[in-house]
Symmetry: C2
Subunit: 321 residues, 2 copies
């Protein structure tokens, strides 16, 4: 029997509540029969986590080997094959974005040091909590024992949103669209780029005005749109994207993917940022897709997203070695 | 391509929020490629339902053919293959249980008349909203055009809970336990009965004192325990049980199941109640498992649950033809 150890942080939150049951209902890990699940959250959430554990047990999932809830990060991270970092401090009313970034920098540096201490180099870490790319950057710089390529940040939600919005526009099914790219930061500066998109292996023609004035801003602001309508931020769709992200990393993908990875000079983007790039992903790892033609409009937007990430990196510089 | 039409009521609630994404991530229907999903809820929830639709679209599920949100039950129910009735009025503070039953009787009678008018006799209806058995009873009596056997109420959550609690006690895996029965009402009078339970086809021996003093009350009160710890009632585990219930009805089951069905004199239980009985379920329908030996203790409890359902039926008698 093959068993994997999975840890989820921010386990008492809404995204985790969607993610946990989704993962257990159909494991996204290759050659894996069961998982040991560890749910981490702050001390004040422990009672609610026990209730969550009861609910998980009440599903009688045959994929669950064991479940533990804890507020002790060291115990939680130890021996994890995957750590899904959903937890982050949310922005409170009147809070400056720079303060939010700093508060989370502090959390992610603390957790990074623990991961570096207790985890094996093969541990894979997926960062979801916002600002995801900069949190992942701090994590990456403060875990010298974990290879950079084992730490990725979530961009799949943006890619799924972009696909869905395009599919609706051209009145086609999402699964027939390939090669949708998201460049940059998981924020409103992200750059959904459909210049390479295919519909059943054929090029798609949509007019530039729609792309620039509707498509790109709609994808960039979709998170806000969800909050406006639901009164709550995206949870189940974020969880679904995390599920897809895990699946892609663990099983590889036939299609182009966009994950936040550590840059090393690709496409003239500053090295040492966590940035979403077009990737081929196999079970052996990922390769950046090279030599794509990028038009001036998209190039300008990519530069804006890079600029935002450089600014975020500047804010957290005291958390980087 | 095979497409099924699925309608979910109470779609803006927490159970539906877990259920919708679970269903789309891995369709529980046999020979089905995609679904047309219709989400029904009250007028005041329509804005939030639009946000929910956006989130569903943002998952880029290849299993979704179309999604519609509405407050119009007639449009929602029309041409449905399955109607999952999650919606019900919840108990508010200080409300008498009999008033809650009557309020829901009113809702379910209204919906029944619409189903009877617009649905085909092959439509399958699963009742989840509480009091589920009595709501299902009203539905059953007021839909003469739908065969009784196409209307069932959810008991799978109770069966899953009972399995999980037994598995923990005997330190075994849930999937190795078979033939767990729940008798009666989906309420604190339900009767989890492990007298026929097998562990990998072998009889299980657990002592009667644990069964009577711990096991049965723990299963009966599990819903309350979840609320106590989470501060919220079961949602994801209820959704998981609904998923299992759909799967059982649509694909059949190798194991014994417990669904709420219309009684017709089995085991000396009053005819014409919606009552959980042990069933064999195939793609052709269900058969009550007959001639099980029931000990005096369990028999007494079954009678108490029957008494409760008779009382509920008495409260709603003006809603029954």
């Amino acid at each position: 029997m093959n068993i994997k150890n999975i840890c989820i942080t921010g386990a008492a939150g809404n995204i985790a509540y969607s993610l946990i049951f989704r993962v257990l209902s159909n494991l996204p890990f290759k050659n894996t029969d069961k998982i040991n699940l560890t749910l981490l959250d702050i001390t004040q959430s422990q009672k609610s986590l026990i209730g969550l554990r009861y609910e998980v047990e009440d599903c009688a999932f045959s994929t669950l080997n064991s479940i533990e809830v804890t507020d002790n990060a060291e115990n939680a991270f130890q021996e994890s094959d995957y750590i899904i970092m959903v937890g982050a401090k949310p922005r409170s009313k009147g809070m400056e974005r720079s303060d939010l970034i700093l508060d989370n920098a502090n959390i992610f540096k603390t957790q990074a040091l623990i991961i570096d201490k207790v985890c094996s180099p093969s541990t894979k870490v997926i960062v979801v909590g916002n600002p995801a790319n900069t949190n992942a950057l701090i994590l990456n710089y403060n875990t010298p024992s974990i290879p950079n390529r084992n730490i990725t940040s979530l961009m799949k939600l943006d890619q799924n949103r972009a696909k869905s919005i395009l599919a609706e526009k051209i009145n086609e099914q999402v699964e027939d669209i390939q090669q949708m790219i998201i460049w940059g930061n998981h924020s409103t500066t992200q750059v959904p780029d459909l210049s390479n998109c295919l519909l059943n292996a054929e090029q798609i023609n949509v007019d530039d005005i729609w792309i620039q004035n509707t498509f790109i801003p709609k994808v960039q602001k979709r998170g806000g749109e969800i909050i406006e309508f639901r009164g709550l931020s995206s949870a189940a769709s974020a969880a679904s994207a995390i599920y897809d992200h895990i699946n892609i990393i663990d099983n590889g993908s036939n299609s182009w993917e966009s994950l936040g990875i550590m840059t090393s000079g690709e496409y003239d983007i500053e090295s040492g940022l966590m940035f979403s790039l077009p990737l081929n992903v196999t079970t052996e790892g990922y390769q950046v897709i090279k030599d794509l033609k990028i038009d001036t409009y998209i190039k300008t937007l990519i530069k804006l997203s890079e600029k935002e990430l450089l600014k975020e990196r500047d804010i957290v510089k005291s958390y980087l070695p």
